[in-house]
């Protein structure tokens, strides 16, 4: 009786809430279907001719991703699903996937730093037998130091290089001319320090030199370790004794930190590659010691300093050369279930043909440099990169990852030590040194603290 006498509005009331709830539920179900479709759009992963590739998101890799569907997939029918992440994230993700051999990714960009221990752990497929069977791939065309850096102690090549870099000194020719300064053809660090002092203030707000001060084994530790090498220092002796607070290491680090403090860029303790690139392009520094890959941006279209930059080899002290060697290279996970397709992709992306394709489609300044000798005899590339191609090739060919300093080393690597613990060690040491750059502690104190960390790592290997 009560129910039947209820007003109509009362009866409809539950519908006011039921209707939106039902709509939301239906929308949710539709979405879950769409997310599946999204997955399909991305390619799924385990389908027939589909491979999953995990890459660092450097500009050259972004270009590769843009050219793949139009060319590689069209030619081979193999769909490629790319995941692109920043450098630190991609390392974490690759390590996570490869160490567990989850097989989510068939191909990933790894560097010459990871090759020794990834190969030792049997996470990778040797690529030299595949390269030998691929007509026209021309493995011998790959720059010898890069090829060597990607070869493990068992003699197998475990990754094919997509991009390679060394380090050199970049300086503003116009500023040097205006100040009457002369850059030696093969400068020493002491000469660079003198030039930095003289170029400091050449323009309002301009400092002498930009060096990485941002914490991180891939940031500050890379250039600093090359300075340590040429000053006669090393992280570890051949028999695994930590040498981080040795006189040579200390002298090199004090030189680096003092140069930064006196004539380095503003905010040096937070400056990495990108900040130095900005500072150099915006005429806030007269010199910059960093990766050879920076030259493409400095002399590229739209750069305010294009045509004004000179390039000389990495400064030295006790060694003949001191430039680093680094390569992002494509490796195949052993757990991959699409190895034939994965090799087709690797051999396409690291071929001479891809370099020509990128040059023609995107412009020669955007070609991934530092992998093949033939690129440095290509007239179109030479014309587009005349200012730095020779200096880059010279830097790459003179790099000696097996013998980068004045004493024998326990592991390969110029700007790093080729052991898995080095990434964490380098990060922590760089944090100590960044405090020294910011004036919060002294260099000897930072290095004494770092020595304890290095000694703990060395103890594992003795």
């Amino acid at each position: 009786m009560t129910t039947s006498s209820s007003p109509p509005s009362r009866r409809r009331r539950p519908l006011r809430f039921a209707r939106p709830a039902a709509l939301v539920a239906v929308a949710g179900l539709l979405l879950s279907g769409c997310a599946g479709a999204g997955g399909d759009e991305l390619g799924g992963g385990s389908g027939g001719h589909t491979i999953n590739v995990l890459m660092v998101n450097n500009p050259q890799m972004v270009d590769l991703q843009k050219l793949t569907a139009e060319h590689f997939t069209k030619e081979t029918g193999i769909r490629v699903n790319f995941t692109m992440l920043p450098e630190d994230d991609v390392r974490d993700k690759i390590s996570q996937d490869f160490s567990s051999q989850a097989g989510e990714y068939d191909v990933a960009t790894i560097s010459n730093y990871e090759i020794p221990f990834y190969a030792r752990n049997h996470w990778l497929v040797p690529l030299n037998p595949l390269a030998a069977k691929t007509p026209g791939y021309d493995q011998a065309d790959v720059l010898a130091p890069i090829r060597k850096a990607l070869t493990a102690s068992d003699g197998n090549l475990y990754a094919e290089p997509f991009y390679g870099e060394s380090s050199f000194l970049m300086y503003r020719k116009d500023i040097f001319q205006a100040k009457g300064l002369k850059m030696p053809a093969h400068p020493t660090w002491q000469q660079v320090a003198t030039l930095a002092a003289e170029a400091d203030g050449a323009k309002p707000g301009m400092k002498g030199i930009c060096l990485r001060g941002e914490p991180g084994w891939g940031q500050m530790i890379a250039p600093l370790t090359t300075v340590v090498n040429t000053f006669g220092g090393t992280w570890f002796t051949k028999d695994w004794k930590a040498e981080v607070n040795s006189p040579a290491f200390t002298k090199a680090t004090e030189f680096y930190v003092n140069l930064l403090k006196k004539h380095g860029e503003a905010g040096a303790a937070e400056s990495g590659f990108t900040e130095c690139l900005n500072d150099f392009e915006q005429s806030k520094v007269a010199m910059w010691y960093d990766a050879t890959s920076a030259a493409g941006s400095l002399d590229g279209a739209g750069s305010p300093v294009a045509g004004k930059v000179g390039y000389v080899p990495a400064p030295v002290e006790q060694t003949k050369n001191s430039g680093w060697l680094y390569s992002w290279a494509f490796a195949m996970q052993k757990a991959s279930t699409h190895q034939a397709d994965a090799w087709k992709f690797i051999s396409w992306a690291t071929s001479k043909g891809y370099l020509n394709l990128a040059g023609k489609e995107l412009g020669w300044s955007r070609v991934p440099p530092g992998t093949r000798n033939s690129l440095y005899t290509n007239p179109a590339y030479i014309k587009a990169s005349a200012a730095f191609a020779g200096a880059t090739q010279q830097a790459l060919n003179s790099a000696t990852p097996d013998n980068p300093g004045v004493q024998p080393r326990p592991a390969t690597g110029i700007q790093f030590v080729g052991i898995p613990e080095f990434a964490a060690l380098g990060d922590r040491v760089s944090q100590n040194l960044s405090s020294a750059i910011a004036g919060q502690t002294s260099v000897p104190s930072a290095l004494n603290e770092s020595q304890k960390l290095a000694a703990a790592v060395a103890a594992h290997y003795r």
Binding site: S32, C34, A35, P86, A102
Partner: protein
């Protein structure tokens, strides 16, 4: 004596007249403080919006150039112009994970909150503390076990794994919020419904839901926002298929080259769904947030 003989209305009028200038001054001060705080909160978002319309070179200048020419290049790159990765799959994944987990959270939190407030179970306060205690473990501490379990049950890179995780992560907060909202439902109304013979489903849908709707809206929005913005688990547990928009956003950050304008454009686009949801639920949200837990 004279005050005692005043009528209450006259006393209120006299009091208001006496303190009006002081109150006005205090009101102005609070208004200024509110505006300053508001501007401080909005400024970074406005800066992000402005930077998203600059070129990469202009975005990287120091000191920043406010008057640099505007361009849509950052947005073009976000939407994959020229063969770049499309943002739609990650956006759909985010939407799926957020909407589905929010629905599940509401479906579980409302009955749980009912049993903890309207018809409290025994030791309800211990139960509430247990819910809260699940939030005390740092999320990162559970990451490795969850990764290993997901790998073993073949749920890596699966959006439903995120739906389950986000539901479990947001459920304790939702239960706490919903309990406070349901505690506001007048007992007399429930008793009246009960006398009229209403069963539990009728009470929930016709009595509790209408009264607690602002609270439900606030809880849903909070759950949606937390799920939409989650990065840690999404980054580790997804890959090719189930990557969400925050993971997609980090893909624009590079250690080589300039990226600030692109990242700002991506951040603006990815923030939009949350802003739209917030505006859509604004009236309910204001009611909800002025009720119960955060009153």
């Amino acid at each position: 004596m004279s005050a005692a003989t005043m009528t209450p209305a006259a006393a209120r009028a006299a009091s208001a007249a006496g303190s009006r200038p002081g109150k006005r001054r205090t009101g102005v001060v609070w208004s200024v403080v509110a505006w300053v705080v508001g501007v401080l909160f909005v400024l970074p978002a406005l800066w992000m919006l402005l930077t998203s319309f600059h070129s990469e070179q202009a975005a990287a200048t120091n000191p920043p150039s406010l008057a640099a020419p505007l361009t849509l290049q950052g947005y073009r790159e976000f939407f994959g112009a020229g063969g770049g990765l499309s943002p739609w799959p990650p956006l759909l994944n985010s939407l799926t994970a957020s909407v589905m987990s929010t629905l599940l959270v509401l479906a579980l939190a409302i009955p749980a909150a009912y049993a903890l407030s309207i018809k409290p179970v025994k030791k309800w306060s211990d139960v509430m503390f247990f819910f809260l205690s699940t939030k005390m473990l740092p999320a990162v501490a559970g990451l490795l076990p969850i990764y290993l379990i997901a790998e073993n049950i073949h749920m890596l890179d699966n959006i439903w794994l995120l739906v389950i995780l986000y539901t479990s992560m947001n459920l304790p907060i939702a239960v706490w919020m919903m309990r406070s909202f349901l505690a506001e439902v007048p007992v007399e109304m429930l008793e009246a419904a009960s006398i009229d013979g209403a069963g539990l489903p009728t009470v929930l849908t016709r009595i509790v839901a209408p009264v607690a709707m602002p609270g439900i809206a606030a809880t849903a929005l909070i759950s949606f926002i937390f799920s939409w913005n989650e990065l840690l688990f999404a980054r580790v547990l997804t890959g090719v298929v189930a990557g969400t928009s925050p993971v997609f956003l980090t893909g624009f950050v590079t250690s080589q080259g300039l990226f600030l304008a692109k990242v700002c454009a991506a951040a603006v686009c990815i923030s939009l769904p949350v802003l739209i949801a917030g505006f859509a639920a604004q009236d309910k949200l204001v009611q909800g947030l002025s009720l119960g837990a955060v009153k």
